[in-house]
Amino acid sequence: MNARILPYVLILPVTLFLCLFFIYPFVLVSQQAFQAADGGWSMENFQEVVEYWKFPISMKNTLLLAAIVVPVQLALALLMATMVSKMKKGRDMVLYIWTIPLGISDLAAGIIWLAIFEQSGFLNSMLHGIGVVDKPVNFLTYQNPWIVFLAIALAEIWRATAIMLVILVAGIGLIPKEYYEAADVFGASKWKQFTRITFPLLRPSLQTALVLRVILAFEIFAVVAALGGTLFPVLMGQTYSYQFDLLNSGAAAAMALIILGISIGFTLIILRILRVPKGASI
């Protein structure tokens, strides 16, 4: 088949599918964001959501959380992926264990981590058991916003590192062993091997893992609601509150578009930084 038409034939199914099940409802919903109370076009909804006093806090919390959680996850996933690639015995089992959180929904993860951090939870039981504290400490309170933040970050790192891990592990698997053997012959250190071979060749996978993870990080909601309660408003929580508590779908759509805008911005930045050079090949 003609190499000029072939790519379009290949992307046609996806495009049609997404037009029907994503673009069509998306356009309908987005229209509402630009609709004024009287039916005309306006930016009223955007103004309303941005001027709400919780908006700056939600924005700060969402960005801060992404800024802390995603790099830690990236580092951890890279570490785990390289560790597992050196493993000789028990690799299957270790890799399986590390991918377990994949199967756990964010709602379930929230339930699990709340059981750890709540006042009569497992963390306090442990601290109590080894005699560090006499009576349970209240971790998740408005006096300790940093502990709340830390708890949410830990739960997110626990829950969503596996997504990156699987993508990176699959990517590392494609790097030919000969490269490392050659590097060994020339006496390159493990660190040098990582920065000179693994990292550059892993670029496409890194890009994918980061972009997906960052987009999902801006959509964070269930874990935050479970652990942070009302103390830690995030953008997605505000969106749902407009849609389902206030029944204001225009404002909800405006919030969602703002989140979309931020996601696009960060995606472009990541794509730029981790550009896969043209004709990338090994």
Binding site: L140, G229, T230, D245, L246, L247
Partner: protein
Amino acid sequence: MTLHSKITGAVSGIAVSCIAFAAQADVLFWSTQAKPVEESQAMREQVLSGAGEVDYQPNDPGPWITRLNAELQADSGTIGVLGALHGDFSAMDPDDLVDLSDLGVMSASSTFNDLSKLGTDSMQYIPWMQASYIMAANKEALQYLPEGADVDALTYDQLIAWGQNVMTATGEAKFGFPAGPKGLKHRFFQGYLYPSYTNGVVRSFASDEAVTAWEKMRELWAVTNPASTNFSFLQEQLLSGDAWIVFDHTSRLAQAFNERPDDFIAFPAPAGPTGRGFMPVLAGVAIPRTAPDMEASKALVAHMLKPETQIATLRATNFFPVVDVDLPGDLPPAVTAAGDAVAKMSGSADANPGLLPAGLGDKGGDFNRVFVDSFERIVLGGQDIRAVLDDQKGKLAAIMEETGAPCWAPDAPSEGACPVE
């Protein structure tokens, strides 16, 4: 009767039952109530077992409203009967609900029946069950009651002092307040704190008395378990001991009483300078205009109002009947405890009952947000009370003007929209 007519009668009887059977697709009961798995199981097995084929599906408000709106927009539905709170129905367009006035069933309370008209002349939903908010405490806390205080006739000051005593004795703040994401804190402000201190909700929103009320709220918060911002169902904290004295919805306290009936007591909400404010919770059943089988839906609504169904519902959900029934003696401990507390509360000399917000339409959520935002800014954020109230007052006034909702008790009646004074 001749043999012939008997046979035709039997034949047509069989035919009718066959048709009924064939047309009898499950009636879908789409509800926001009785969500906890045990309650929905009890709804299916006990309450609805005698109502023919009913598919009882409780949902979060999000999916509930989304599915309902989709069916209304598509003009084609599977939902037969809706079960939800008064506030959920009042946010809907009355035209989307079938007029139920001629159904011949209604609640025993004319107040409830009026509420269910949603501002129209006919009943848009039928009151289904009621509850209220009460206080509950671990019996261990009783020894710290301030001197001279009667647990059944507490004042807010005594409640604060009680919480203080517990805190001094145990070193922990053990008052529990439903300030979590799904907690019903706004009802405490609207139905309890404001009526008890200002004898109003809307008119007196930014009054000097309201400033006092919020000062008391701050004092109460000082003896409140600070993790309360995660609490939405205080039965959990009662059972775990994280909170000893709590305020919540009767059905959100039920599990504590049913599991360890001897460890807890239920009692009325406290009183302030203008009486003992309290507020009911009202759930209703309605039929959307898109219901596939109108007759079956109406039959189910009528079934829900039967006295024996109402008692079964009480057992299943801890919501009380809205029709006159003789309560049996063998009710679950939670029902007995909550029922006594509500009776004491409404029978108290200084009772100051409030009504549910009415006429707010789909602005009910915005109305709640005014109170929740005030709480978060004043109590959690430590902002100046007067400044916050003056700021929120504008938002409240805008909501009242936009909806034109008249005042409801305990606010004095108004001509037109309820004014914020």
